[in-house]
């Protein structure tokens, strides 16, 4: 299995070289942004306020992790449904966001906005949160401490395993994968 090693911050060149179905190992910073943190960020953007951290060339991870037990950096941390973030994503892309890590469908509008902003949708496996936590080496509170578990944390990840779902060339693994393996029904 060929795996592309990708370092964050992302560049346009790296993004252009990523294609639907590619296995990618991500290293660098991931910002955890769940529903409420998204709402807060989009409010800041709407009011013209400076964001607590820069989104330029960064990657956000759709997750609200379990609390870290004593002696561990994080608890279990796997992706949540990207579909719920569709209403917020274009505003973040306009700030220079280059990638998102999540699971589930994206709307056609978001997929198009991501192509226009040259950003990639990476899929992580959901339901394997204990496994994924192994790749998170450090954690720092980045914004909105009042949101508790739903605050924005900056993860330092090494070789975090993802697959390219939507690339900037129009590929969509959720559609293409299904076409490749569907079998004609009897009736």
């Amino acid at each position: 299995m060929h795996v592309k090693e990708v370092h964050i911050p992302l560049t346009d060149e790296v993004v252009a070289d990523l294609h639907t179905g590619d296995h990618v190992s991500l290293s660098g910073k991931l910002y955890t942004v769940g529903d409420r943190a998204h709402k807060r960020l989009v409010q800041y953007i709407g009011q013209g306020k400076q964001l607590p951290f820069s989104l330029a060339n960064q990657v956000v991870y759709y997750v609200v992790a379990t609390p870290a037990p004593p002696g561990r950096i994080v608890g279990s941390s796997g992706p949540t449904t990207a579909t719920r973030m569709d209403c917020y994503t274009p505003a973040l892309l306009a700030q220079g966001l280059k990638g998102v890590v999540g699971k589930g469908y994206r709307s056609a509008e978001v997929a198009q906005a991501m192509r226009e902003h040259r950003a990639v949708y990476f899929g992580a496996v959901c339901g394997v949160a204990a496994f994924l936590s192994q790749y998170i080496k450090n954690l720092r509170l980045a914004a909105f401490p009042g949101l508790g578990a739903e605050a924005v944390y900056e993860y330092t990840v090494v070789d975090f395993p993802v697959v390219v779902i939507n690339d900037i060339h129009g590929g969509d693994l959720h559609l293409e994968g299904r076409k490749a393996y569907a079998v004609t029904q009897d009736d």
């Binding site: 299995m1 609200v64 609390p67 699971k103 339901g127 394997v128 697959v163 959720h174 009736d187």
Partner: protein, 280 residues
């Protein structure tokens, strides 16, 4: 009359909640091992390898299998010769959920009200369904149910004329449209009959049946096989990356219904297929 102390119920529920959050049932783990062997799509096979690795890591390190530690669903079968003493049964169950959420570092995912949405910070209240049965036992089945798979589950009252072809079409549409969102491979719980909420409850109960155990009625067994085959022909695969295994199992439960009704409910269970049952 047999007496069961409410404190015992609390302890047992906390234990079920802990085990279900950290350890996949053996029948589920084995089903993923078989799926890994059978899957021909490399992208889906990679997902299945991660699911198997996660199962081992979570169990060994006592970590939640999934960050969504769910809404705690509890099905109770209360023998009519049982008397719960020393407190209310429902309060005892919720105390067990509260204790496990604290002790096991589960995520606090429950909001007090669907509109106002303030987090209760202890994963209570659990969703509890209680059925009175014969005997002097108390059976507790617990499932930490993820939102991803619950959010794409469906209920519809069909026309009796739609029959089995209509039911099959409804199930396939549900799984097809859900695509990656319920985190496949899923277990499909299908409830047919009764009334609208009875069908939904049957679908939920069907998810607790161990994989490999078929519905005892032969005609229903055949329908389960037919539907599993049809679901897997959709090609969705693991996490909708394309593949031949979209569901590990289809479990059907049926109940009598009105001559003018055909209620159907499809409840999907994600690949973090967590549940645990015991009897006091």
């Amino acid at each position: 009359m047999r007496t069961i102390d409410a404190a015992t119920v609390t302890e047992v529920v906390a234990g079920l909640c802990e085990e279900a959050s950290f350890v996949l049932e053996q029948n589920v783990h084995s089903a993923f091992q078989r799926a890994y062997q059978e899957e021909i799509s490399p992208l889906s096979k990679d997902v299945l390898a991660q699911i198997l690795a996660n199962s081992a890591i979570a169990a060994e390190n006592r970590l939640p299998i999934c960050q969504d530690t769910g809404i705690i669903l509890v099905l109770i079968e209360l023998g009519q010769d049982v008397h719960v003493s020393g407190g209310s049964l429902y309060a005892a169950i919720n105390q067990g959920v509260r204790n496990a959420s604290q002790k096991c570092y589960l995520r606090k995912s429950i909001v007090n009200d669907p509109i106002e949405r303030t987090n209760t910070k202890d994963n209570t209240p659990a969703v509890i369904h209680c059925r009175i049965v014969d005997g002097d036992r108390l059976k507790i089945s617990l499932m930490p149910k993820s939102a991803g798979s619950e959010n794409v589950s469906t209920v519809k009252v069909l026309n009796p004329a739609d029959g089995w072809p209509g039911i099959k079409k409804f199930v396939l549409e549900t799984v097809d449209q859900a695509g990656p969102n319920p985190c496949p491979p899923v277990i499909v719980g299908l409830g047919i009959g009764g009334t609208m909420e009875k069908a939904a409850l049957l679908a939920k109960e069907a998810l607790f049946r161990p994989i490999g155990r078929k519905n005892p009625t032969e005609t229903i067994t055949h329908l389960e096989d037919e539907l599993l085959d049809a679901v897997n022909k959709l090609g969705i695969g693991s996490m909708s990356r394309g593949g031949r295994i979209t569901a590990l199992a289809v479990h059907i439960e049926v109940f009598a219904t009105h001559m003018s009704s055909l209620p159907v409910a499809v409840n999907l269970l994600c690949c973090a297929a967590r549940y645990k049952t015991t009897e006091i």
